[in-house]
Symmetry: C2
């Protein structure tokens, strides 16, 4: 990239801009930190998220100590060029507490029990994968995985037929219910086939023209 | 909420914290601004995103002039309580340029041509809806909408059967291709039935335990 563009960014009186770090595949906002011009330059050159630590007063390559480096897919700039967005992948966890995101609590400082709506597909994938591994007693999904691929594929077919019937009935609630059921079982099938949701997202991106 | 929690937030020397504003359903980061204690209090009380304008030196209810108010679904706090996240819905556009998000350009100040991976399902929904409305010549999707609901439902059934066959073949590339095809046509069917992706997300959230 043309580094002269860095000249356009409006750094504050301390020479910093706020940086928002977001997961490229799930959309999760992972952290908010600061960067100076050097940090952005280094991020571009190395492909890994680099910040400026205000407490240590030095450049800070995220994950250099913890191993949780953030591979930068894209950098975005806001309309008045005084805020930056890093879109990252393969980041492990971003928070020093061990949480994936630093924003793991609501305004009442309570940990969220449910994912936010935008991340439900990925959250469900992770949850169902956990069911497969941990096999909790009485879990429908754990039982489905135990019955094996043929049973899972059969369920995909069943839910698809139920979706077709719901669509023919033109009943909105029924359609919402059945499409959700189908997506739920498609996720089970993807896990069973060892395919990531990211692969589907990349394939759909190709079809976006 | 317990307002004493506001006492825990670490405002900077100007009495401000950075606020990240994110779409609750799509995950899109819409803008980054600042809030003082009053702004956060007002956001909690009214349910609409309120900021502190550093240029006007006053509280700023986003959209009070433009009409693009941001309904706040959740407020989150980061691990060291010096950064805030507003999750919003029904926000129209967030940027004064008319763009949905202030972060509509990459670091080279070029407008993005493709959505980011995390937002592909919603972006595809919007794109296919646009095809339905604008009916561009030669568009496969526009033609599909013209042929009507039965043809669309038939395609969902077809793609589901192809997905079942791909799953049985245990061919990863084939599965990725066919599942993507199925999701693509499920989105067409949802548009045809006048159902939003948000409805599916809410239904899946109910199943997340």
């Amino acid at each position: 990239m043309d580094k002269s563009i860095l000249e356009k960014i409006k750094f504050n009186s301390e020479g910093l801009v706020p940086v928002i770090t977001q997961s490229y595949y799930t959309g999760k906002v992972l952290m908010q930190a600061y960067a100076n011009k050097e940090a952005i330059k280094k991020t571009i050159e190395t492909g890994y998220a680099t910040y400026y630590s205000r407490s240590r007063k030095s450049l800070w390559v995220k994950g250099e100590t913890s191993g949780n480096k953030q591979k930068v897919v894209k950098i975005k700039v806001d309309c008045d060029e005084d805020s930056i967005l890093y879109l990252v992948k393969d980041y492990g966890v971003a928070c020093h507490t061990g949480e994936e995101s630093c924003f793991y609590r609501d305004i009442n400082l309570r940990k969220a029990e449910k994912p936010d709506a935008y991340e439900i597909f990925h959250a469900l994938y992770e949850k169902l994968l956990q069911r497969k591994i941990e096999k909790p007693e009485g879990s429908y999904v754990a039982k489905l995985f135990e019955k094996g691929s043929d049973k899972i594929i059969q369920k995909v077919g069943e839910e698809a037929v139920e979706t077709v019937i719901a669509l023919k009935n033109k009943d909105k609630n029924e359609i919402i219910y059945e499409v959700s059921d189908l997506i739920f079982h498609l996720i089970v099938a993807l896990i069973d086939a060892d395919i990531k949701l990211e692969d589907i997202q990349e394939e759909l991106l190709k079809r976006y023209k």
